[in-house]
C-alpha cells in the first residue's frame, strides 16, 4: 500500500500544531517551518500526480476492508486537485510572508496548514462522511484565515460566511442521514454500486439525498441561489487568503464532479439527469450575477470576487453537461480559473496596500504604476477569458463542448454576454486604477482619507520588492504555461475524464475485483 497517499493530510496536520503551539512566539521560525512544509507538500503532490496515471489507488485506513472502514482514493482527478492546491498554496504563502500579512494576527501559519490539510483531505477521501469531516476542517480553518487580523467589516463578513456554511454543513448531515438510511453505507464506491440497483419507482429518498448533496456542494461552489456569501467573504478577507480561497470554491465543484458522476451520475436510473437539469440554469444565473457584479462593482476586491462568481458559473455550466468532452473542458477551466483568480487577488493586495484604498475612485498613481498596470492587464485578460491566456482556451473548450440543442443557446449566450460584461467591467476598473490615476495630483486626496478605514498598515509607501512580486508574476506565468502547454495538459485531462466516467473501474479498485459487499 502506498503510504504517500495520506501524506498530504498528515504532513500539515502534524506540522500545524507544532507551528501553532511550539513556534507561536517566533514568527521567523513559524515562517520557515510553514514554507518548508508547503514545499514538501508540493513535492509530495508532484510525486502523487506522477504516480496517479493508472488505476485508482486505494488506502485502507486502519486496515479495515472497504466499505467498513474509511478509504482514501488517489486517482488522476484527486492527484490533479491536490497538485493545484499545493502549487497555489506555495504562491499564496510566499506572498503572505513577503507582504507581512502573516504578522498581522495570530496563528496564520497554523491555520494555513490546517486549511491545506482540510482541502487535501477533501480531495483524497473516498468516503462521503469523511468528506463531511474535511468540509468542517476546511470551513473552520478558512473562517480563521478569513478573519485574520480582524477589523469590523471583516468580522461581519466572516460571521456571515461561517453561519451560511454551517447551515450548509447541517444540510450535509441531513443528506448523509437520508443516504445512509437508504443504502446503509458511506463508502463512495459502495454507494455507486448500491445505487445502480435502486429502481426508479423506489428512488424518492435517493433523489432527495442527491438533491440535498448537490445543494451542499453548490453552496461551497457558490452557485445560485446559494452564492450570496461569496462576494462579501472574498471581498473582505485578507487578499492572500482570498487568493487561497480560489481553490475552496473548486472543492464544491470537485464534489459535484465526483459524487454526481460516480454515485448519481449518467446511467443511474434513480437520479437520471436530475443534477444536470438543475445545475445548468443555476450556473447560468450565476454567470449573470457574476457579470452584473463585476460591472457594478465600486471596489476592486468586490470586482474580483464577482468575477470569481462568474467563473464558477462558467465552470458549472460545463460540469452540468456531465459529458466527457465537457468534463475535460471543465477541468481545464477549473485549473485556469483557480490561478487567474489568485493572480488577481495577489496583485490587488499589492495595489491596495499602496493606494491605501480598495475603492475605484480617483487616487493618485502609486509607485510602480506601470508594472502593476501590466500585471493587472494580464491577470484581467486571464479572468475575462481573452486571448492569449488560458481563459480564452478554456472558454473555447467549454463552448465547443456544449452543443446539445437545448443547452447551446442558453449556455453560449450566458458565457459570451458574461464575458463582455466582465471585459467592460475590468476595462473600467483598470482604466480608473492605472490610467485615470496618472491625471490625479498627489496632494488632492488627503481629505478623502479620513472616512476611509485604512486597509493596510502604513509603511507600504515603498516599491514592491522581488519577493512580493514573485508570486503574482509566477501565477501569471502559470497562466501562460497553461496556454502554451494546453495540448499535453488536455491530453492528461482526457485521461482524467475517462477515469471519472469509468464507474466500474473505481468500484473495482476500492471494493476488490468482484465489487460485492
Amino acid at each position: 500500500m502506498n503510504h504517500w497517499i495520506i501524506a498530504p493530510v498528515i504532513l500539515p496536520a502534524l506540522l500545524a500544531p507544532v507551528i501553532g503551539f511550539v513556534m507561536r512566539h517566533d514568527l521567523p521560525l513559524a515562517r520557515t517551518a510553514s514554507v518548508a512544509g508547503t514545499v514538501a507538500l508540493l513535492v509530495i503532490a508532484i510525486g502523487l500526480f506522477v504516480t496517479a496515471g493508472g488505476d485508482p489507488q486505494v488506502y485502507y485506513l486502519g486496515d479495515w476492508p472497504a466499505p467498513f472502514g474509511i478509504v482514501l482514493v488517489l486517482d488522476r482527478l484527486s492527484a490533479l486537485m491536490v497538485l493545484v492546491t499545493t502549487v497555489l498554496a506555495l504562491l499564496v504563502l510566499v506572498h503572505a510572508v513577503a507582504t507581512g500579512w502573516d504578522a498581522r494576527g495570530w496563528h496564520f501559519h497554523a491555520l494555513f496548514q490546517f486549511q491545506l490539510m482540510g482541502i487535501c483531505g477533501a480531495f483524497l477521501t473516498g468516503d462521503i462522511f469523511n468528506l463531511f469531516v474535511f468540509f468542517e476542517i476546511l470551513l473552520i480553518a478558512s473562517y480563521g484565515l478569513m478573519v485574520h487580523s480582524g477589523g469590523r467589516d471583516r468580522m461581519r463578513a466572516g460571521l456571515q460566511y461561517v453561519v451560511i456554511n454551517l447551515a450548509g454543513s447541517t444540510l450535509f448531515l441531513f443528506a448523509l442521514g437520508v443516504l445512509y438510511s437508504v443504502t446503509g453505507t458511506l463508502n463512495i464506491a459502495d454507494l455507486a454500486l448500491r445505487l445502480q440497483e435502486v429502481p426508479a419507482d423506489e428512488a424518492a429518498l435517493v433523489r432527495v439525498a442527491a438533491m440535498l448533496l448537490m445543494i451542499v456542494f453548490a453552496l461551497k461552489a457558490a452557485l445560485f441561489p446559494v452564492q450570496f456569501w461569496l462576494p462579501g467573504a472574498y471581498a473582505n478577507a485578507p487578499a492572500p487568503v482570498a487568493a487561497l480561497f480560489a481553490i475552496m470554491t473548486k472543492v464544491g465543484a470537485y464534489a459535484i464532479l465526483r459524487i454526481h458522476t460516480l454515485v448519481f451520475g449518467p446511467g443511474i436510473v434513480a437520479t437520471d439527469g436530475m443534477a444536470g437539469t438543475w445545475l445548468l440554469p443555476a450556473a447560468i444565473v450565476t454567470i449573470a450575477i457574476g457579470a452584473v457584479g463585476v460591472l457594478g462593482a465600486r471596489n476592486l476586491l468586490a470586482l474580483i470576487a464577482f468575477s470569481v462568481l462568474g467563473s464558477m458559473g462558467t465552470l458549472m455550466v460545463a460540469i452540468s453537461a456531465f459529458s466527457p468532452v465537457a468534463t475535460t473542458a471543465a477541468l481545464y477551466y477549473l485549473v485556469h480559473s483557480t490561478f487567474a483568480a489568485a493572480a488577481l487577488f495577489l496583485l490587488a493586495d499589492l495595489v491596495i496596500a499602496r493606494r491605501e484604498a480598495g475603492h475605484l475612485g480617483a487616487r493618485p498613481a502609486t509607485l510602480q504604476n506601470g508594472l502593476f498596470a501590466a500585471l493587472f492587464f494580464a491577470a484581467a485578460i486571464g479572468m475575462a477569458g481573452m486571448p492569449p491566456l488560458s481563459g480564452f482556451i478554456g472558454k473555447l473548450m467549454v463552448l465547443d463542448a456544449l452543443r446539445a440543442p437545448g443547452t447551446m443557446a442558453w449556455a453560449w449566450s450566458a458565457v459570451l454576454f458574461g464575458s463582455l460584461m466582465t471585459i467592460v467591467g475590468f476595462a473600467r476598473a483598470g482604466s480608473a486604477l492605472f490610467w485615470k490615476s496618472t491625471a490625479v495630483p498627489l496632494d488632492e486626496p488627503e481629505t478623502a482619507e479620513t472616512d476611509e478605514a485604512p486597509e493596510a498598515p502604513s509603511g507600504t509607501d515603498r516599491p514592491a520588492g522581488a519577493m512580493e512580486l514573485a508570486p503574482v508574476m509566477a501565477t501569471v506565468a502559470l497562466l501562460v504555461m497553461l496556454t502554451t502547454f494546453a495540448g499535453p495538459l488536455v491530453g492528461y485531462l482526457d485521461g482524467t475524464t475517462a477515469q471519472i466516467f469509468d464507474r466500474s473501474g473505481y468500484v473495482t479498485a476500492v471494493l476488490g475485483t468482484e465489487g460485492e459487499t
Binding site: 496536520a13 473552520i140 456571515q160 440535498l212 457594478g296 452543443r403 454576454f417 463582455l420 488536455v490
Partner: protein, 963 residues
Amino acid sequence: MNGQEAAVVVNDPSLIIIALLPFIGALLPGMMIRAGRNACAIFTALPTVLSLIMLLLLAPSVMAGQIITVELSWLPQLGLSVAFFLDGLGLLFAAMILGVGLLITLYARFYLSGDDPMGQFYTYLLLFQGAMLGIVLSDNILLLLIFWELTSLSSFLLIGYWKHLPEGRQGARMALAVTAAGGLAMIGGMLILGEIAGSYKLTDILAAGEAIRASDWYMPALILILLGAFTKSAQFPFHFWLPHAMAAPTPVSAYLHSATMVKAGVFLMARMWPVLAGTEAWFYIVTTTGLVTMVLGALIALFKDDLKALLAFSTVSHLGLLTMLLGFGTPMAAVVAVFHIINHLTFKAALFMTAGIIDHEAHTRDIKRLGGLRTLMPVTFVLGTIAALSMAGIPLLNGFLSKEMMLEEASHTDWAGSPWALPVLATLGALLSVAYSFRFIVHVFFGRVREDYPHKPHDPPFGLWIAPALLVGLVVLIGILPHVAEPLVRVAAGAVTGGTLPEFHLKIWHGITPALYMSVIAVLAGAALLAAHRPLDRAWIAAPRPEAKAIFDGLVGGAVGLSRWVTQRTHDGAMSRYLAIFVGSTTLLGYLAWRGGGMPPQTREMLPVPPLVLVGWVLLLVAAGSMALMHRNRFRSLVVMGVIGLTISVGFVYLSAPDLALTQISVETVTIMLLLLALHYMPKASPVESSAGRRIRDGVIAIAGGAGVGALALMFLLRDTPTISDYHLANSYEGGGGTNVVNVILVDFRGYDTYGEIIVLGIAGLIIYAVMEALLNGPAARKLRNTDYSLDRSRDRHPLMMVIATRVMMPIAILVGVYIFLRGHNQPGGGFVAGLVVSIALLMQYMASGFAWTQSRQKIEYHAMIGWGVVIAGLTGAGAWLGGKPFLTSGYDYFHFPPIEEFELATAMLFDLGVFLAVLGAVMLMLYSLSRIARYAGETVNREPMDYDPSADRTTRTTKEQE
C-alpha cells in the same frame, strides 16, 4: 469547384517566424528606449523589416499561384493548431500591415514628444502589428479568433496611450467594448462554422462552402460572424467607436484606421466570401449595411471640423463602400473591393499623417481655425492635396480608378427589385465624398493666411513628411499606371473568390460608361455642395441628431447603474434573507426531487407512543416554540436551549444510546457555561430588526423546512436497510478489541473522522484565541473598557458555598473523568466525554474563584495541550506505518501483572488520549480567551479564592484545599 484545392500547397516554416516576429520584437523597444529614442525606433523597425523581407521572399511563389502553409500542433483535442497559410489575400494584407507599419514607426519617431513614453508606444504598436498579421495569416479559425481579440486588446492600449486624457481612456474603452462584443459574437459564429464543416481549419472550411450555405445553422453563423466584422470595420450602427478612437496619437490613427484594425472586418468578409457570400441573406445584410454606412459616414464627415474626425468618418464611409462591394457577391465586385483596399490604404494613411503634421505644427486640428496653410506649409500642402484628390476620385489618381469601378458595379446591381436604388445612393456617397475631400483641401490650405494660429506653422522636418510622401508616390503611380498593381489585385482577388476571376484590366479609361456620368455628377455636385457649406453647416449644427457617444455612454452608464443597484440590493449582507433563500429553495428542490421517484415499500409499523415520549415531545415543541418567541431575551433563550439539549439527551437514553446521551449532556453543559460567560459582555437583549411581515415569511419557511426534515425522517425510519453497522457490531471485539461498538467506531473503524473532528476543535480554540487578540487590539477593546458592567455584577462574585463545593467535587469529577476514559473501549465513555467531564470540573474552579486565581495554580499551557492532543493522535496513527500497516491501524493485547486483574492495552487508547487532551485544551483555551476579555472589561483580578474569606488571617489554607 475551388481554387485552393487546385493550387500547389507548399510547406514553409518561415511563415511562423514571419507571424511571430512582431511579438518577439515587442520585447525590444521597452528595453532599447534606454539607449535613446533613435535606437528604440530602429529596434522597433528591425522585426518589421525582417518579417517584411521574409514575406517578400515568399511573394514570388504566391504570385505564381502557390499557397504556403505551416502547421504546428497546439491543442489537437479542440482542433486548435498554430496553422498559418499565405495566399494572395494574405500576402496583400501582410504586405500592407508590415509596410505601413514600417512607415508608421518612422513617422512616430518624429511625431511623439519627449514626454511620451516611446518604448511603451512601440511595444504596443508591435503587439498590434503582430495581432493583425496573425489574423491575415491564420489557417485555423480558432487561432484567427485569438488574434482577432488580440487586436481589440492591443488597440485598447494604443488608443488609451495618452492615459491622462479622459478622451483617450473613454475612446479606448468604447473601442474595446464594441470590438470585443463583436469578437465574442464571432466566437459563436466560428464555432458553429467549425461544427458544420467538421474542422476548424480555414482551408477545410473554405472547401465546405456548399455544405455551410445549405446548413440550418447558416443564418446564425452568418449573423454572428458579420457582427464581428461589422463592429471591427465600424459599420453602421457600430460605427461610432471609430471617431472616438481618434483620441489616440495620430500615428496610431493612421495605422489603425487606414491599413489595419478596421480593415480586419473587411478582410474577414473577403476571407469568408467563398463560404458565406452568394446568398440572399448575405446580399441584403452586407450590401445594405455597407451602403447605409457609406452614405451616412460621408454625410457626417462633411460637417466635422476636426481634421481627424473628418478623416475618421471618411474612413467609415469607405469601409461601407468596401462592405457593399463584398456584399454584391459577384467576382468582379470582389476584384474592385480588393483594388480599393489598396487605394484607400495609400491615400488615407497619407491623409492621416498630413493631419498629424498640421496638428503637430499648428497645434490645432480644427478646420475652422485653419486655412491659408498653402504658403506656410508647401510640402504638406502638396501631399495633402494629392491624397485628398485621390480620395475625391479625381482622374489620374488611384482613388478615381476604384471608385469608377465601384460605380460601374453599382450601376448594374438591383436592390429589392429596384435598379435605381444602388446607383443613386452610390453616386450620393461619391458626391459627399468629393465634398468633404475638397473641404479638406480648400478650408485648410486655401484662403487667407491667418494671424491667430495657436502656433505659427511651417513645414515639418524630413522625417515627418517622408512617410506620407512615399504613400502619395504610390497614389500617383497606381493612378497613372494602374497595371502595376494588377498582378497583386489579381492574385488577391483570386484568393477572395476562390478561383475563377472575370476578365478585367485595370486601366484609366473605360470609355463613356454610366459610371463616368455618375463620376462627373459626383464631382460637380460635390463642389457645389462645398460652396454651400456655410449655410448647410449652420443647419446641420441646428438640426437635432442622435449623438452616438451620448447614447453609448448612457447605455454603459445605465448598465453599470442597474448592475450596481441589483448587486447592492441582493448582496447587501442581509444574512436572514440569505438563509431564508437557502432554506426555502432547499425545501422546494428537495420536494421536487422527492416527487420524481416512488417510495420503496414500508417495512416497519409505527410504534405506539408511550406517555413519557409524548411528554418529551411536547416539551421539545414548547421549548422550540419559546425559543422562537423569546430569543430577544438572550439569557432566557439560553435556558430554553439547555432544556432542548437535555430533552434530546433523555431521548438518547430512552432509545438505548448511552454514549450519545453522555456526550450530549457534557457538550450541553460546557456550551451553556461558556455561552453564559460570553453573554456577559454583550447586550442583554436583541433589538427588533425585522418587520412582522418578514417574521411571518421566515416562520413559514422555517416550518416548511422543519416539516420537510420531519417527513424525511419519518419516511426512512419506517424502512430498513442492511447497513455496514452490522459489520461493525460483528467485528468490534475481534478486530477492534473493544466491546463498546460506538467507541470502537470512533477510535478505530472511523478513527480518521474523529481525528478530523478533534482538529476542528483545536482549530476552533486557536481561532477564538486569534480573534480575541485581534479584537482586543482594535476598537472593541476601547468599547469594553468604557462600558460599565459593574451593575451586572454580583456583590458576591465568588461565593463561599460554591468555592467549597467545587473544591470538594473536583477530585471526584476528575476520577470520574479517568474512569470514563479508561472504560471507554468497552463501556459507554471514551476520551471525548472524559475530556469534557474534566473540563467541566476545571471550569467550575474558574467560575468559583475567578480565572486569574485558578490560572496561577495550573502549569500546563492550553495551547500546548491542544497541540499535544493532535500530535499524539496523529503519531499514534502514524505508528502503524512502522508495522507496515496503514495509518490508524490499531493493535491491542491483554496483559496481566499479578496484583491487578488481566487488562487490555490498545493503541486506540493512546489515540483516545489525544482526543482527551485536544478536547480539554480547546475548552480551556476558550475559557482563557473569555477571561482575557473580562479583564479588559475591568474585572479585577482576585488573589483570594473567594470574596469573603472567613479565615482572612490564614490564607494558606486555600492552597491546601486545592491539593
